[in-house]
């Protein structure tokens, strides 16, 4: 049978929506009507309650509303009576269909609420599935059957079902929605994590909120013998109460002033009247002395914390005396204050003067110190520039000397006669002199001539080197035989002989050497030693070396730099 019935139902659903609704009605209605009572009866009770309100404020309010809106009072009464009564509220977790929280009106409890919640959830899912297939996007929100209605509002992971006796109007729906939104906002996380455990403390709080909402939305219960209330009675009582309160307030103030007057009379003997107007006290009467005035002033201040307006008469003579006394006291005070001020000012002026002198002196000393430092700085600066200039010159001379030595080394690279260290050309193997003779041997002169010419040309022929050449020195040497004095004289003579010879050469004339060649006797210094034995013939020789401008300066600067 099932296999036959099911396709038929499905086909019917697909073909006709109305038939679908007709098929669902007995199902949903049976369940809903089980829990909802007779709405008509409730409505009648409600209307009766309204009528019995009689002369209540509600009636006047309704009358006023009718006048303002133009709608008859009867229509308003009927509209109020048609408000749906919420019997139960369920909050159900969407996915599981588990009932999270439930509340009911008194004596309206639902049997097996958890099963009802699950079944309602299933019906909702079924209808939603059906409407989705019918390409309607909205979820089912209202299920009605006869005089029973389920209002369903969905949000987040739960939905709320309100069981009502009739369809709720827009205002009621709004109230339910606002309440539901409030709960969702506070407990959305709890609803999401709800795992079916009904011992969670949040459930009690939620149900308390729901109960409160039910109470607030519950229509008034009709009272059969309720006494009719007359608003005029309340207004009269209220008026009398206000009068009494004002009288009490007024009497209390008067009594306090009377007590004060009595106290003044006891202390001063004067009969003074005190009046109060706009929170200000006015004192009237006659005083025997100024002293009494100050006694009263002090007393008023103590008792009321206020000043007062004086309308009391004081004795004129005493007033004049008092004023004179006050004037005198004030003049003395002014004079004393003036003297004290002048003294203080003078003290301060003196202090300022001392301070000024001290500061001036300090400033002068500092200025001198600064001038001294500036002069010292100037000296250091000058010395720095001088030294810097010398250093620059020395560097350029040194560079040029190195350049000259390099050129000579290159020119005499084929022989060991050239000494790169001091730049001299040593004719030690040329057999220039016989022993004891100062005149050079004739056959050795050509070698001397060639060597000298080349040496001079390398240096004087270079335009960069030439300006730095101060002169040349011809040093004469002897072998180590003989005394020092003899050798000194002989070596000098040998140097002179060679100088005389080289000055005859064209190259000397070309570079004007006559005034810049010097001859020196070196005696037997630096003899030529070969294998530990002196080569006497070689020791008898001459050396030619150049002298650079500022040679001494370079030496001293180099020494300073090394130090």
């Amino acid at each position: 049978m099932q296999s036959v019935i099911s396709p038929v139902i499905a086909q019917e659903i697909a073909e006709n929506k109305d038939k679908m609704i007709d098929a669902l009605y007995p199902i949903m209605g049976g369940m809903i009507s089980k829990y909802v009572t007779n709405a008509i009866k409730e409505m009648m009770e409600h209307i009766n309650a309204k009528i019995e309100e009689g002369l209540s404020f509600e009636r006047y309010k309704r009358k006023l509303k009718a006048k303002m809106t133009g709608v008859s009072e009867t229509e308003i009464l009927l509209e109020e009576s048609l408000d749906a009564t919420i019997r139960s509220l369920f909050i159900i977790q969407k996915e599981t269909g588990l009932l999270v929280a439930e509340v009911h009106l008194e004596n309206r409890e639902i049997n097996d609420p958890h099963m009802v919640a699950s079944m309602a959830s299933a019906i909702k899912d079924f209808v939603n599935d059906w409407t989705e297939k019918a390409e309607e996007t909205s979820e089912v929100q209202l299920l009605s059957y006869g005089n029973a209605t389920l209002y369903i509002e969905s949000a987040g992971s739960v939905y709320l079902i309100a069981f009502l006796d009739t369809e709720p109007d827009f205002e009621q729906r709004s109230k339910i929605n606002v309440f539901f939104a409030k709960i969702i906002k506070k407990y959305s996380r709890f609803f999401q994590d709800f795992d079916g455990d009904d011992s969670a403390p949040e459930i009690q709080t939620i149900e308390e909120m729901m109960r409160k909402f039910l109470r607030e939305t519950k229509p008034p219960v009709p009272r059969e013998n309720a006494a009719k209330k007359n608003p005029l009675k309340y207004i009269l009582i209220l008026f009398l109460l206000l009068c009494f309160a004002y009288a009490a307030y007024w009497g209390k103030g008067k009594y306090e002033l009377y007590l004060l007057e009595q106290q003044i009379s006891r202390q001063t003997g004067a009969h003074i009247t005190i009046e109060k107007e706009n929170h200000t006290l006015y004192l009237k009467g006659y005083l025997a002395s100024i002293k009494d005035f100050y006694t009263i002033k002090k007393l008023i201040k103590e008792k009321t914390g206020k000043d007062f307006v004086n309308e009391m008469y004081l004795p004129p003579e005493e007033m004049d005396q008092k004023l004179m006394q006050q004037k005198k006291t004030m003049a003395q005070t002014v004079k004393r204050l003036s003297l004290e001020t002048n003294r203080a000012l003078k003290d301060q002026q003196h202090t300022v003067k001392v301070l000024e002198n001290t500061l001036t002196s300090k400033y002068d000393r500092l200025e001198q110190k600064v001038a001294g430092l500036e002069a010292e700085l100037q000296t250091i600066n000058t010395r720095y520039h001088t030294t810097r200039k010398k250093l620059d010159t020395a560097i350029s001379i040194s560079v040029m000397k190195a350049h000259a030595l390099e050129k000579l080394k290159e020119a005499f690279s084929h022989t060991d006669a050239f000494h790169p260290k001091d730049g001299s050309l040593d004719f030690k193997n040329k057999h220039l002199f016989e022993a004891g003779q100062s005149v050079p041997k004739a056959d050795s002169l050509s070698v001397l001539k060639q060597g000298f010419k080349k040496y001079i040309t390398v240096l004087m022929g270079d335009k960069q080197i030439k300006p730095y050449i101060k002169g040349f020195v011809i040093e004469g040497y002897t072998d180590s035989s003989g005394s020092y004095d003899f050798n000194k004289a002989l070596s000098l003579e040998r140097a002179k002989q060679i100088k005389k010879y080289v000055l005859t050469l064209p190259v000397s004339k070309q570079y004007h050497l006559s005034k810049i060649i010097d001859a020196r006797g070196m005696a037997d210094e630096n003899p030529v030693i070969i294998n530990g034995v002196e080569d006497r013939e070689a020791s008898r020789r001459i050396k030619i070396r150049f002298v650079f401008n500022s040679d001494k300066a370079i030496e001293s600067i180099e020494k300073a730099l090394n130090d």
């Binding site: 099911s6 139902i9 588990l98 097996d112 958890h114 699950s118 079924f126 079916g196 009904d198």
Partner: protein, 158 residues
């Protein structure tokens, strides 16, 4: 008390409703099942001193002409997959039902009921290879129905 939603899943006419009817405390009328494809019943039980109420969603077996809303499957903590032990095609459908369950509830537990076991001979019963969570049940003689539900309840509370 803890409440859990469980599903009864299985092909058409394998005896799901009969199993439920044999076991539960209270239920709605069967008319719901034929109309909207599901009927809710409840069963209260104590497992390891924990009070548990099972809300049993007896979902009608789907046929080509009658589709069941997939929303019914959502939020279930477990399911009893039922087949007719005497009909091979319903046994073969078990895998599909397990797939449906786990597609919507990845953490869900399930047990399998080879129902109508009273129709099987002793020899046929021996040839069946049953795993730990598979039971030979019969709504007719009530065999192994309690243990079927209790086993699922324990699995859910683990």
């Amino acid at each position: 008390m803890i409440r859990k939603k469980i599903l009864m899943l299985g092909d058409f006419a394998v005896g799901k409703t009969s199993l439920v009817r044999h076991y539960i405390d209270n239920t709605f009328d069967d008319v719901y099942l034929t109309t909207i494809g599901v009927k809710v019943s409840k069963k209260m039980l104590a497992v390891n001193h924990v009070e548990l109420e099972l809300l049993i969603w007896d979902i009608e077996g789907e046929t080509p002409s009658k589709k069941i809303p997939k929303a019914y499957f959502k939020g279930a903590s477990g399911a009893i997959i039922v087949c007719d032990a005497s009909r091979k095609e319903t046994v073969e459908g078990i895998r599909e039902h397990i797939g449906d369950l786990l597609a919507f509830n990845r953490e869900a537990k399930y047990v399998i009921a080879y129902n109508k076991s009273d129709l099987l001979s002793a020899q046929q019963k021996e040839t069946l290879s049953l795993s730990e969570n598979t039971f030979l049940t019969s709504a007719k003689d009530g065999s192994q129905i309690d243990i079927l539900f209790t086993t699922l309840a324990k699995e859910i509370l683990l």
